[in-house]
Subunit: 505 residues, 2 copies
Amino acid sequence: MAKQEKTAITPTRDEDYSEWYQEAVRLSDMADRSPVRGCMVIKPWGYALWENIVRELDDMFKDTGVKNAYFPLFIPLSFLEKEAEHVEGFAKECAVVTHHRLEKNAEGGLVPAGELTEPLVVRPTSETIIGDSFSKWITSYRDLPLLINQWANVVRWEMRTRIFLRTSEFLWQEGHTAHATSKEAVERTRMMLDIYAKLAEECLAMPVIKGRKSASERFPGAADTLCIEAMMQDKKALQAGTSHFLGQNFAKASEIKFHSAEGAEEYAWTTSWGASTRLIGGIVMTHGDDDGVILPPRVASAHVVLLPIIKKPEDKAAVMTFTENLAKELRGQFYHHRKIRVEIDDRDSGAKGWDWIKKGIPLRVEIGPRDIAADSVFAGRRDKAHKDKTSFKRADFVQNITKILDEIQTNLFERALTFREKNTIVINENKEFYQYFTPQHQEKPEIHGGFSMSHWCGNAQCEAKIKEDLSVTIRCIPFEGESGKGKCVCCGKPADKQVVFAKAY
Amino acid sequence: MAKQEKTAITPTRDEDYSEWYQEAVRLSDMADRSPVRGCMVIKPWGYALWENIVRELDDMFKDTGVKNAYFPLFIPLSFLEKEAEHVEGFAKECAVVTHHRLEKNAEGGLVPAGELTEPLVVRPTSETIIGDSFSKWITSYRDLPLLINQWANVVRWEMRTRIFLRTSEFLWQEGHTAHATSKEAVERTRMMLDIYAKLAEECLAMPVIKGRKSASERFPGAADTLCIEAMMQDKKALQAGTSHFLGQNFAKASEIKFHSAEGAEEYAWTTSWGASTRLIGGIVMTHGDDDGVILPPRVASAHVVLLPIIKKPEDKAAVMTFTENLAKELRGQFYHHRKIRVEIDDRDSGAKGWDWIKKGIPLRVEIGPRDIAADSVFAGRRDKAHKDKTSFKRADFVQNITKILDEIQTNLFERALTFREKNTIVINENKEFYQYFTPQHQEKPEIHGGFSMSHWCGNAQCEAKIKEDLSVTIRCIPFEGESGKGKCVCCGKPADKQVVFAKAY
């Protein structure tokens, strides 16, 4: 897009990425800030997107034998304390319920009353409360594996919040499984990560790198944390899903024991894994352009909006009839086993096309008297320039819509992948590494500040120094890609692992 | 069932209905108590039932133009205070968040820290926090009607809890709509009640009486509360869904205003309506028998369980192949637009059939070598005696399964309706009314203590006296049925309304 042309979002991504993000979300009508500190309101257009993500994940979970359940919102303080690292990790961001009613004080104002004997923490995650149930449900190896998932809200009292990416309350799923052997739990941890990667790449059109966290970036209490990492358009990394092998740590904390086939009493091996409404922020930052959000068709809140163009009152009946018939025909079709989702915007407004561009709907279809006369429609794709529209014979459009949606889906993925590849380089030298991540040193800004594939010796001190100096962290130790021997990009000592370094959300 | 025969649930319904309920729920494996006071754990068998209820309701809501959204879990105290009756109604049962982190005290124990400047209430219902969003989203009559629903958890700190029926935390949906006219809001209130009644009668096989609450039983802050009331097997009433016309009360409290087509600024007219996991308790108490839960097929967690019977190891391969092929065939079929849900229980246990009886699955199918030899299956219906099983040719069973499920659904509804009709009588005399609801006066116990259709003069004092004397309340002023002039069953004064009196959950 030429610089002179006006964009729907001000500022543009180049001008101020962070502000662009807030504006893109706001103008997409997906979510609002709320009067409650750090909490958001997810509006219908954002919630529909979440519902589609939920449906895709839920089907994949169930295909692997996982069943849904629901556990209490509140966790007694004593439960949280059972796993030392775990409570340490969450103590600073817990909403604490201390009273169970309200009473009028002398001035007639309401104040908390009925103090609880033990404070309750609003769940930041549910390992400890679900562990309590597991300890009751599991007695024999025959009860294993136990494969449970919960769709829920959680609260982490973040000091600096950003809509969808980091909010005090968010929606997520948390899976929790228990197994008889370490091997089986490790396999399950990887299986669920692969499901997140499949969701990200196939449904969200968001390329991800699968890998393992370094020890210092692990989930509090986990033996191993696997993750998927995506690159946003400001070249920062977004952690888009995590899967934890918990070893026997939480089983010991919650007394999850079973009798093996040989009769011995053993602790179970557990896992947990989660993905959240943060993914919506990831979609915005991966695909959005200076005209706003672009939704990948597989999970888009709606696939296509029909925009009847009525300039003379006498055309109205014919245009609306054509529009409604077309909607009905499209809704009768399936795209990847889901019904095609169609919106009709019959508002009397010249600017309505722009509203849908900002909302990121994959297809906009204009229908005016001339189109009807030619039995055709005039369609614009959100992944193309807003003026780039094509006339289709109505029957061709109906017949080809799923193909067009797939083209958009593929195009979004390819664009994001190309962007990531363009902004990922191998760096072996310390000086080059520091320059890459230091804005004032950037000689070639177009290839600076993305992902650096660099060797790391495995020492937490090197990791901490880089984080301190540059705010750059090890996003993951990737499962795939080149490895081979090398030198640590921090200390220069021999290192046999190439890892992904980046700034991150 | 003859008294001598052993039942799966002890005590039986006749012996101790309340204990029977707790045991039926426990042995169905639908839910557990939790270590958090008054909160339950919904286990997979119970959660699957809830998911099916959610799906039915959600589809019906969306068909009327309602869209889902999500609002904060926390409500600032000052918001709750905006509507005087509303806060009065909920102040005694609020979980209050007062701190946002945990700190170690001198003894090393964790204590709440970071006191909030304004306490936050965990939502008991969301009129006030959603009203805040509505006040921002609505400016013109063009923004109306606004039709929003939220699926969420809510917390009401109940002193006496009972699993599914009254728990401190429960899952529900709460719909919130705003309209330009009183008439439209009143119509919406009724429309949503009709959806609840349709869910109850068609999906849960639970006959309900639709009506209006008396003023004293209204939702706190509502101008009118409509409800559906069902009769449980102990002849008590269960309120199974409510729909509130809120007038302009909450619009005034939250400043939800719009400019009309004529340019005047007006307050909107709002409604709210909810149904919850309490419905699961209602299903148990409507249909359950002394062998446990009976799930209505339309929402059952699963429709059919296949029980391979393997007595000799050499039969195993053939029996399992037959079973898995049958499962595949059944899963390929639809029952009321949903895929047939099939479980296979291949545990090596003679008692496994009983587990499924207690879980209430509509159909149990035994498959042994003799059945396979005859290409047949041996099926038992949960609405019939457990020994009453029928042999079907395999192909006939596959072809007829949806018909059989519909027969069970209809049978459950008819049984419940017959029970309610048998236990509903018209009472016009005060003495007879008191005897009907007083156990020691029961001369004909089989027709005592159900629903009494009696005239009421409309005076809240009469209503209060009956509640005080008998713990009997006006369940609703029904929309349908006989009305005509009569005498108030309490004071004897002229009354033109016949209402439903009953004890209730």
